[in-house]
Amino acid sequence: MEAFSSLNSGVAPLNRVNVDTDQIIPKQFLKRVERTGFGQFLFNDWRFDEQGNERPDFILNQSGYRDASILVSGRNFGCGSSREHAPWALQDFGIKVIIAPSFADIFHNNCFQNGVLPVVLPEDVVQEIIKNSEDDPDYRITVDLEAQRVWDENEEIVAEFNVESFRRHCLLNGLDDIGLTLEDEDDIASYERGRSEHGGILSS
């Protein structure tokens, strides 16, 4: 997994609440068997019309925003289907940080597995970032994972966020969960010895 420490980037504002993973990557694109190449389908039905042409009013089609690596959106971002194709598509498109007042649990987990940083900030701060970036396509912010801080260039916005220390450590170092867990092999084997054939709460 790619490590993440800090990022200074333009911001794409997607001022909608409850953005679900069916919108982030519609189901017709889930049939690929690879992890890569999903960026072209990101927000497909919002980005493209029936003929496959870009909709000029969609934020990621606008010249000032399409190269932004930070996406800022409304509450409960990433709700719905567990598809990890959603963070894969965002990452492949070039989004490295998503800022929102809240995230759905599975999407939030999936981001950390892929080096994408979900940042939870208070509703009023998120609204301010959305407004600033809507007003000015050149508006930039810095997101620093080590310091757990977000700020803009003239420091009108300075906000702190919180990431569990374990997740922060993994993301800062690009660590793979599986490798870490395999270090606990003795514990897993010992658990298995006390486990019944049917598992659950039944003991052997």
Binding site: N15, R16, V17, N18, D20, D22, Q23, P26, K27, Q28, L30, K31, R32, V33, E34, R35, D45, E50, G74, R75, N76, C79, G80, S81, S82, R83, E84, P87, S102, A104, D105, I106, N109, N110, Q113, N114, E164, S165, F166, D177, I178, T181, L182, D184, D187, I188, Y191, E192, R195, H198, G199, G200, I201, L202
Partner: protein, 468 residues
């Protein structure tokens, strides 16, 4: 010992390792796998030279991409075929049991898990699918995970998890005739919102929940994720044990009785505290219909479609306005006046034998409206056979419903069963997101009874007073 909730008992029994500030390493008793969210995970194992640690605790099913047309006909989508082939190849290479399209026991993963007795009280169950919450109906802790986590479980049989909070959702009183498990869960989501249970495991309690069949409890737990919950659970009881007795993969004979004694101890202890409590009155619940583009945008059948001005929050105003536009509905119109083009009865929410029976009861002696195409898709081959033995297929066919092979079908539009742009569907599935059932399609979530009645009338009706 401090009193514990059912969730805490199961959690504590599965912690392999817990360290301060780190997610617990949690043992997984059952790992269900399907074709859409697993190919990249198997690839990851291959690249790292890792095996599937416990093939005996891993079960794979082909369900999302499978057409529901006649099994002798080929799959016409080459990319879907490729994904199904990848699952077959991976299961063969890694030694995982697979229920493929031609298995006599094939079906939707969340239908056949319980049906084949894999799903049991007290287990930890995961699947790369958000509707894994279904299995919580048996008093299991069952959660949906992403593909990286699928790979983690395949390699280690454990999952790293931060402990979720708990929420009790108590539904007191008795449900009126015509008000179903689907209406209970839609009513709950309508009340707490689609992010209302984020970070929480819901335990459903109360008289109305206890009186539900296992099929009904699965419907409720299935849609826990639509309220944002990590999982939904119902404590096991006599209804649970009767459903399980004698099923393949369940302890048999005297072992079953011993297991029941242990499972009965799972119940939340008296005095145990939940982090949140929500209470509903079953007697106030009506049949529900979603009018918008997420499951929280829902109203009783006797209500009207809302207007954006009904909402205080600016985000809600904007999303309601967008939803009404997408759904092509007039603010303030009667829900009963919404006309449908298509009806879909099926999905991991509502495709079990009870659902088939309930829909057939409405269909019997009636005819599907000429303006509607209606399909019934049983959740598994076993359910299909049982329904046919009971003559339900004939009732549906006589009424003009299309009777299909088992699969996920039009719940998510990954197979040939999809809506055309602009088509409006009464659906017993779980998500009404934009484009969920086909690009530009419009979905209204309802119970099987409400869907069948809408098929006959061509618009929504209140099944409590409707006489076909």
């Amino acid at each position: 010992m401090a009193p514990k909730t059912m969730f805490e008992k199961i959690w504590d029994a599965h912690v392999v390792k817990a360290e301060q500030g780190k997610p617990a390493v949690l043992y997984v008793d059952l790992h269900l796998v399907h074709e859409v969210t697993s190919p990249q995970a198997f690839d990851g194992l291959r690249m790292a030279g890792r095996d599937v640690r416990r093939t005996d605790l891993t079960v794979a099913v082909a369900d999302h991409n499978t057409p529901t047309w006649d099994l002798s006909l080929p799959i016409t989508d080459p990319i879907a075929q490729q994904q199904l082939d990848a699952l077959s190849k991976n299961c063969e290479e890694f030694g995982v049991t697979l229920y493929d399209r031609f298995s006599p026991l094939q079906g939707i993963v969340h239908v056949i898990g319980p049906e084949q007795g894999y799903t049991q009280p007290g287990k930890t169950i995961v699947c790369g699918d958000s509707h894994t919450s279904t299995h919580g109906a048996f008093g299991a802790f069952a959660i949906g995970i992403g593909t990286s986590e699928v790979e983690h479980v395949l390699a280690t049989q454990t999952l790293r998890q931060f402990k979720p909070k708990t929420m009790e959702v108590r539904v007191d009183g008795k449900l009126s005739p015509g008000v179903t498990a689907k209406d209970v869960v839609l009513g709950i989501i309508g009340k707490i919102g689609i992010g209302g249970a984020t970070g929480h495991v819901i335990e459903y309690t109360g008289e109305a929940i206890r009186s539900l069949s296992m099929e009904g409890r699965m419907t409720v737990c299935n849609m826990s994720i639509e309220a944002g919950a990590r999982a939904g659970m119902v404590a096991p009881d006599a209804t649970t044990f009767e459903y399980m007795r004698g099923r393949e993969n369940v302890p048999q004979g005297s072992d079953f009785n011993k297991a029941v004694a242990a499972w009965e101890n799972l119940t939340t202890d008296e005095g145990a505290q939940y982090d949140q409590v929500v209470i509903l009155d079953a007697e106030e619940l009506e049949p529900h219909v979603t009018w918008g583009t997420n499951p929280g945008m829902v109203a009783p059948i006797t209500a009207n479609v809302p207007t954006p001005e009904d909402y205080d929050d600016s985000g809600d105003k904007e999303s309601v306005s967008r939803a009404l536009d997408y759904m092509d509905l007039e603010p303030g119109m009667r829900i009963e006046d919404i006309e449908v083009d298509r009806v879909f009865i099926g999905s991991c929410t509502n495709s079990r034998i009870d659902d088939m029976r309930a829909a057939a009861k409405i269909a019997e002696g009636n005819k599907v409206s000429e303006s509607v195409y209606a399909m019934v898709v049983p959740g598994s081959n076993a359910i299909k056979r049982q329904a046919e033995e009971e003559g339900l297929d004939q009732i549906f066919k006589d009424a003009g419903f299309d009777w299909r092979e088992a699969g996920c079908s039009m719940c998510l539009g990954m197979n040939p069963d999809i809506l055309k742009p602009g088509e409006r569907c009464a659906s017993t599935s779980n998500r009404n997101f934009e484009g969920r059932q086909g690009k530009g399609g419009r979905t209204h979530l309802v119970s099987p009874e409400m869907a069948a009645a809408a098929a006959i009338e061509g618009h929504f009706v209140d099944v409590r007073v409707w006489r076909g």
